[in-house]
Subunit: 255 residues, 2 copies
DNA sequence: GTCAATAGTTTGTCCTGACATATTTACGTT
DNA sequence: AACGTAAATATGTCAGGACAAACTATTGAC
């Protein structure tokens, strides 16, 4: 299971060079180089790295700096370490992080030509459920809006959202042109964490009509609250998706 | 947004004590103490910590150790740091990590009295889809089994799974008594990452009968592949849940 | 030949010390 | 009074060294 020594160790000296005058931290330069070598296959899947001390010597760095570079890649799941044994490149299949993105960005990435129609838009006091369930300050004014999201010209999702109006200025035009999360980021909001609940139910007549489904079709439902890095509620959404055209893909990591 | 200094700084000396004879690393002891103080409200939401150097002095630790303790909590989202400013406790609502758990554990935690009935169990060569889609080595023998999961005496989910037989010994009795992920962990498998796809569809007649739903009811579907820390495929599952009784709750973190 | 003790390798933890950089606060000049 | 500059403050990065603990492989005893 753990490869033999002679077989596993790669090139005697990985040709990494660090630039001490760069503003980029040394540990990060090393981490990037290593990541690139892993990604390019230069450091093969399953192969063992040389030990920290030798690597540090070869690059003219201290061991703590080398360790930090390696730790960074361990945290991102590219390397595995075992005390008394060594550091090994993880199988390629096990990459990628959990990301906090929105439907709009996902669709753009997938080249699915997203369009948005704003069905309703307004400002109002935050509804009681938001205050009670998610700890929004009482009396906060929020934008409330409803959007229909299309992909490749076909309706895909019906989205109802609340956003505290103190965070940013928002217009229906903004929402037609950009994804909500991009707008939040552009306003300087640092999304840090979001709680989602994903379920399913059958469509009501009105929902079926809006989404172009038949009555009684299965829908994916998603309710989400997002917080910024100070713990303020930044967004609340209740979305429904056509199950025939959408599914949630996610990557979970455990210790 | 960032609280004033005089207001924010808490007790002059948090009464933390570390045990240098404990096998638990010092940085971890400190992190746990701090976490407990935050959880108990002793360190209030939004309050600022003293600076690293003073804290280290007060505990008789070096700055790197203190930093590591703080960094641990920053990574877990309990603290926020800003260079030149300080370290602040994040709002209470923004806790909790993504966890790699199984339905069984979740139900136990919720006190829902989980039961499992094994509908079928066998060993067979890995099906072609597993080899092609998820990179399982060709010719691998796998356990293939089907389980019906009950909560509080009511059927909740129908689960079809594959597990490479080389990983562990598995019997239907094991599966009736424990969750799959607990069994894997007990066999020394380190779950590291899982890819899930969550969708919805209407129940077939057979599925509806097994789950006690009416025909045409909405079901939540989940397909998952889990990998261990060496990148080996450890488990594949295709599950269906009664949408009327189950939803996926998840927490996403972004940078 | 088998098993237990031992030596060697590698990562884990912790220390002291130094300088860099971002941010806020205070001061002094205009 | 307003503005730009400097000082104070806090975290970020890096070095070099020491010892501990886990794991592997070898050696030695029976």
């Amino acid at each position: 299971m753990w490869p033999l020594r002679e077989v596993a160790v790669n090139q005697p000296a990985p040709p990494i060079q660090v630039d001490r005058n760069s503003p980029v931290p040394l540990y990060f330069q090393v981490a990037q180089h290593l990541e690139q070598q892993i990604e390019s296959g230069e450091l093969a899947t399953g192969s063992r790295l040389e030990n920290e001390i030798d690597l540090a010597d070869q690059l003219g760095l201290s061991r703590p700096t080398m360790r930090r570079a390696i730790q960074y890649l361990v945290d991102r799941g590219l390397l595995v370490r075992k005390r008394g044994v060594g550091t090994q490149v993880v199988h390629t299949k096990v990459r990628r992080q959990v990301e906090l993105t929105s439907l709009y960005e996902d669709l753009v990435k997938a080249g699915r030509d997203p369009r948005t129609r704003v069905l309703s838009f307004g400002r109002e006091p935050a509804p009681a459920t938001l205050v009670l369930e998610f700890g929004l300050a009482e009396g906060t004014e929020v934008y409330a809006f409803e959007r229909l999201r299309y992909a490749d010209g076909e309706p895909l999702a019906l989205m109802r959202n609340y956003v505290p109006s103190g965070l940013m200025d928002l217009t229906p035009e903004d929402l037609e042109r950009h994804g909500l999360y991009n707008l939040l980021r552009a306003a300087g909001v640092n999304l840090r964490i979001a709680r989602q609940s994903i379920g399913a139910r059958t469509a009501t007549a009105a929902e079926a009509r809006a989404l172009g489904e038949t009555r009684g079709a299965s829908l994916l439902t998603m309710e989400r609250v997002a917080y910024d890095d100070h713990g303020r509620v930044v967004e609340h959404g209740k979305h429904i998706y056509r199950a025939s055209r959408y599914s949630f893909d996610l990557t979970l990591t455990g210790w």
